[in-house]
């Protein structure tokens, strides 16, 4: 009886973990299951099973175009956010610069501003500087959103870097730029890799910024949103399942790589 009472909190905590895990996985599992339903509408129970929705999605030109468009935006975002993020991190980590704390706080500003406000202020901004809505505006907004995270990841890594590494390179004859290219960048690689994967996934996932800044060409989330609003069929489920499997695979792979490089 006594041991039972002692174990009670532990059992309850274990139960809370498993209930939470089911809560997280169940809706996605249901969504994936529904993509195999052999009917034109979404409803349980699933009577007959089919793979035909996948065949349909794979041949769907709209889906393929939206995927390519989203991937292109994600890559452009990743490149620009990484360059600017590293640059800001180098500035903040440099010694004897006035107002470092303020610069860092402002660099992180877009991470704490609610996404909707971020999107709206960018919409207002691009009108003020005469940038049309469309691809470039989307990339700009996604980059603004991703930069703070790159800065934080790179700064964390930079702080653990022994200062004498760069000094040694300079003593051996490397100029500042070569030292940066051949010493600092390789040392930052794990953080850069993590940051890049983060940029790709948040950009592909983003809805609210694209909603306000996008042109007529839909990105992947916009396409799924339009399909959900326009009446639902298991085709959306098949589409979402494909996206889900690919992004999860990328995410888990990145997790694996960063963990391995850390240990």
């Amino acid at each position: 009886m006594r041991t039972y009472f002692n174990d009670l909190p532990k059992t309850a905590l274990g139960a809370s973990y498993w209930i939470f895990a089911v809560y997280l996985v169940l809706p996605l599992a249901l969504m994936m299951a529904m993509s195999f339903k052999d009917a034109n509408f979404i409803a349980f129970p699933i009577g007959n099973w089919t793979l035909s929705w996948y065949g349909k999605v794979v041949q769907d030109k709209q889906f393929l175009e939206a995927s390519l468009y989203s991937i292109g935006i994600a890559l452009a975002t990743t490149v620009s956010a990484t360059i600017i993020g590293v640059w800001i991190a180098l500035l903040v980590s440099a010694e004897n610069i006035w107002g470092k704390a303020v610069i860092f706080a402002l660099a992180c500003l877009p991470a704490v501003v609610p996404g909707l406000i971020n999107a709206i202020s960018m919409r207002i901004f691009i009108r003020a500087v005469d940038i049309p809505t469309g691809t470039f505006a989307i990339i700009l907004a996604h980059t603004v959103h991703a930069v703070p995270f790159v800065v934080i990841m790179v700064l964390t890594r930079l702080r653990s870097m022994p200062a004498n590494l760069v000094d040694a390179a300079r003593d051996l004859g490397a100029d500042p730029f070569i030292a940066f290219l051949r010493v600092t960048i390789p040392y930052l690689m794990p953080a850069l890799f993590g940051g890049m994967i983060f940029c790709v996934l948040t950009s592909i996932d983003d809805f609210v910024r694209t909603f306000f800044l996008g042109g007529y060409q839909p990105t992947l989330p916009m396409l799924i949103f339009a399909k959900v609003q326009g009446g639902m069929s298991p085709e959306i489920n098949a589409m979402a399942t494909i996206v889900l499997v690919v992004t999860t695979a990328v995410g888990v792979y990145a997790e694996h790589i960063t963990r391995r490089s850390r240990s």
Binding site: L13, A21, W87, I117, F125
Partner: protein
């Protein structure tokens, strides 16, 4: 006599980097060497290169849009039209406080975000504690990864998957009917319930990670010592674990609250006519035929200031140091 032929290689500029390929070619070019020379010799040039792009970016794209939004929120008309005045005015802010149509969704949004934050904290805390303290260290990463995997799915897909569970012919209703608990489906979708369910589903990660890392840092001997001194489970939690995980609680709550205030896709898909929250109201002012940018900008400013102030006060009162993402 000094033997001048065996001088050590001089440091810095005079050494030519020996790289093959285009990098070497570029590194030996006159332009590159001139630029680097400037960089090495002058502190001012070095500072300009280091600070130029970052400061320009931050000023232009982190602060600029918000300043421009603040500017427009004070204008009577935008974009400027020849037949209408474009003076500065506070009318857009006054409109917010005078019209219940705007004020009510705003209050609803704040309460909604607070409820979601507290529920997420209560749901996630035991889970984070279990993973951080009870799971064996060698299994810990695996236990955490199982919870992280669903979050790679993305905002819209997760929102959509909630519909599968809660719709009238969704899994939950069909299951309940199958077992004979109900005759006709309970309308769960397009209500506050489905909206909260979905938003908690979306944001639980932002609570989980800070809580996990805060609880993991609590030394286990401290908890054991409290037990040895006679503290029961509840007292151990109240007096030891809770105070020591305060940083995680503050970070998690701030992140969830700030995101929940501005949540946008979820209300469009999961909310109904009775659960209109502020982001939808703002969005309609920017979209469609009734293009009312000054009002929208003013409302956005109010939302930004109020949500950041709330979080700032919360952090000051509870006493966390800073918002951390991991």
């Amino acid at each position: 006599m000094l033997d001048t032929t065996t001088q050590p290689p001089s440091v810095g500029l005079s050494t030519v980097p020996r790289y093959a390929g285009w990098i070497g070619k570029a590194a030996r070019s006159g332009l590159y060497r001139h630029t680097i020379g400037l960089l090495v010799e002058s502190r001012r040039v070095r500072l300009a290169v280091l600070a130029g792009v970052p400061l320009f970016w931050i000023a232009m794209l982190h602060i600029g849009p918000i300043l421009q939004m603040a500017n427009i929120s004070l204008l009577a008309n935008y974009p400027p039209q020849p037949d209408k005045s474009s003076e500065y005015t506070l009318a857009n802010y006054a409109l917010f406080f005078s019209d219940r149509l705007y004020f009510l969704p705003f209050v609803r949004s704040l309460i909604f975000a607070a409820v979601v934050t507290i529920s997420t904290l209560v749901i996630v805390y035991p889970v984070a504690y279990y993973v951080a303290k009870i799971v064996q260290p060698k299994n810990r990463m695996r236990a955490l990864l199982l919870l992280l995997i669903p979050f790679w799915a993305g905002e819209l897909i997760r929102t959509f998957s909630v519909i599968m569970l809660l719709a009238n012919r969704g899994a939950l209703n069909v299951l309940l009917r199958e077992f004979g608990f109900i005759d006709r489906p309970i309308p769960m979708l397009y209500t506050f319930f489905s909206l909260s369910f979905g938003v908690i589903y979306l944001l639980a990660l932002y609570m989980l990670l800070p809580l996990y890392s805060a609880i993991e840092k609590i030394p286990t001997p401290l908890i054991q010592a409290a037990a040895d001194l006679g503290a029961g489970p509840f007292q151990r939690f109240r007096r030891v674990i809770l105070p020591l995980s305060k940083d995680g609680i503050v970070s998690g709550c701030s992140l969830v609250y700030l995101t929940a205030v501005g949540v946008f896709a979820a209300p469009l898909l999961l909310g109904g006519p009775n659960s209109v929250i502020f982001p939808e109201v703002i969005a309609t002012l920017f979209h469609g035929s009734n293009d009312k940018w000054p009002e929208g900008a003013a409302f956005s400013m109010i939302m930004l200031v109020v949500s950041l102030t709330t979080v700032g006060l919360f952090m000051r009162v509870v006493g966390g140091r800073s918002v951390r993402l991991m």
